[in-house]
Symmetry: C2
Subunit: 345 residues, 2 copies
Amino acid sequence: MRRAVAGQGTARSPRQGRPTLEEVAERAGVSRATVSRVVNGQTTVAEDLRRAVEAAAAELGYVPHAAARSLVTHRTDSVALILPESPNRVFSDDQFFPSVIRGVAGELDAAGKLLVLLTTGSAEARSRAERYAVGGHVDGVMFASLHDADLLPELMLRRGVPVVCNGLPHLSAPCIDVDHESGVEAAVRYLLAQGRRRIATVAGPQDMVAGRTRLDAYRQTLAEADRRAIIAVGDFTAESGHAGMRQLLADEPEIDAVFVASDLMAHGALQALREAGRRVPEDVAVVGFDDIALASYCDPPLTTVRQPIAEIGRSMARTMLRLLDGLEVEPLTILPTELVVRESA
Amino acid sequence: MRRAVAGQGTARSPRQGRPTLEEVAERAGVSRATVSRVVNGQTTVAEDLRRAVEAAAAELGYVPHAAARSLVTHRTDSVALILPESPNRVFSDDQFFPSVIRGVAGELDAAGKLLVLLTTGSAEARSRAERYAVGGHVDGVMFASLHDADLLPELMLRRGVPVVCNGLPHLSAPCIDVDHESGVEAAVRYLLAQGRRRIATVAGPQDMVAGRTRLDAYRQTLAEADRRAIIAVGDFTAESGHAGMRQLLADEPEIDAVFVASDLMAHGALQALREAGRRVPEDVAVVGFDDIALASYCDPPLTTVRQPIAEIGRSMARTMLRLLDGLEVEPLTILPTELVVRESA
């Protein structure tokens, strides 16, 4: 016997704890099994029964326990974006990760998916993120700006978690990256065309594709012009750019230009040049890489290689959505870079 | 019959998909039910059987499906921090949310919990976050800087999700906030003591405790000194501070000081004063609220009311950890504020 579904106006006092499936069944006047079948999205339930269950569930504020539902559907309608650095680094003066997040968020939002942000700056944090993703709390995982030694993407892939990455093109997962080589080549050729002769670099971390590839392209372009490489290595932070620039000035006081492999490092390098009494660009020309907002309000505004950071995020999210829909995806997407000339070179 | 557990050195090729419970049972030489009991943390399993299952699970890289496990334990060892604004606002030039995140992350990390970051800047996003939290994918939810009309904390409370909040002291959940009144009173008294006579304010959003309380304290302190309130209202963004300052200058050209209810708004107000040819602090003294990093590199560096933003995050996380452990918690924690004098006033 089904009872009529009570109207929306029925008074109901706030209560603690989730309404149970049994309460929904009682309110709808159907069996527990029928509620279970509706909740689990089975299509074999008669239309009027389904409507009665949905009305009762809405009235009681019942949301099926995802743990129970996901045993059937294995879907959470959420996707994780992993930022493989410490929270102190991601949520400070960095502007790369926030741009990636905005790009990812826009696409997932449009697709009705929840974005779950996680940071994995330590072995313990990686292990917690692994258990969470492998445990079925998200439908897939995207990684921004990976380090070579990070095993997390591979571990998740092996356990059947859909993965999209940025920074590890050798992985058997779709990868979104940018054309580092063309950007760096344009930067170094521009400095050569300006008559600069001793062009140094503050390179990025050598355990990352972005760090290695930019250094290789710098070397290669200088070698083609019969020029010698002058190298310091940083880790993409402002502090390391400052230290790298000081080291270059100590090693080779006669340098007249520097390609710095990230804008945040370039910001630190500009400070070191100011402290050393070198004028930019008169004494030393400076070119960065990224074109984050900081680049345009540096003093002087920074000539830099623009990479489409938000588009990396958008592209990762679109690729993930296709993976989740079982559609074909490009194994490797390379986005363009371009030189943006301002006042520092 | 139990078989010996194979050694760690056994070669095993990478595989797609999660190892199943059946595979663990076969490897350990025990029944599926025994594996299930071990995985679900039941204490009735003989010690040698439990060891065999754990060894087999470790060897195969088996992680129990959290959906299955959480039906028993209802724990995910993760806690959500909800930032109730759009990703474009949270991940841009804002420095409040990043500080809260760093504070929360430090405490959760030390406790071995995963921090899950969610933004809820739209009705759809709130609805997705609600389903996710109510569905058991996190053990509890913290809210930073809530708006009055946000029903999400109440909805989650009703469904049994542990909640800690910042910004809604009337909620039946522990709340962490700061002493807005004392900070604003110190700021306005300081301006009065400097001989300022026409002290305006750019207030924060009036649908938030932080916006209303700071405006009330400004009014109250001026009234005690027999001074008139001169008010514009912003929404804590730099743009709204710029617009609010322009409006104040148009309404009352003779103002000689302004208390701006957030540093980001103060940054916009400084720009509007520059554009109007007013010198700071000579013509117009400016005091902000927050003491984010921006305050010290504003031009001129900003006199402001410091609130311990990272400590809000740490305190929220500590309170959540106590809630999850079933310990008593303070219903309301009020952190101190103090005036920091720099050059703008």
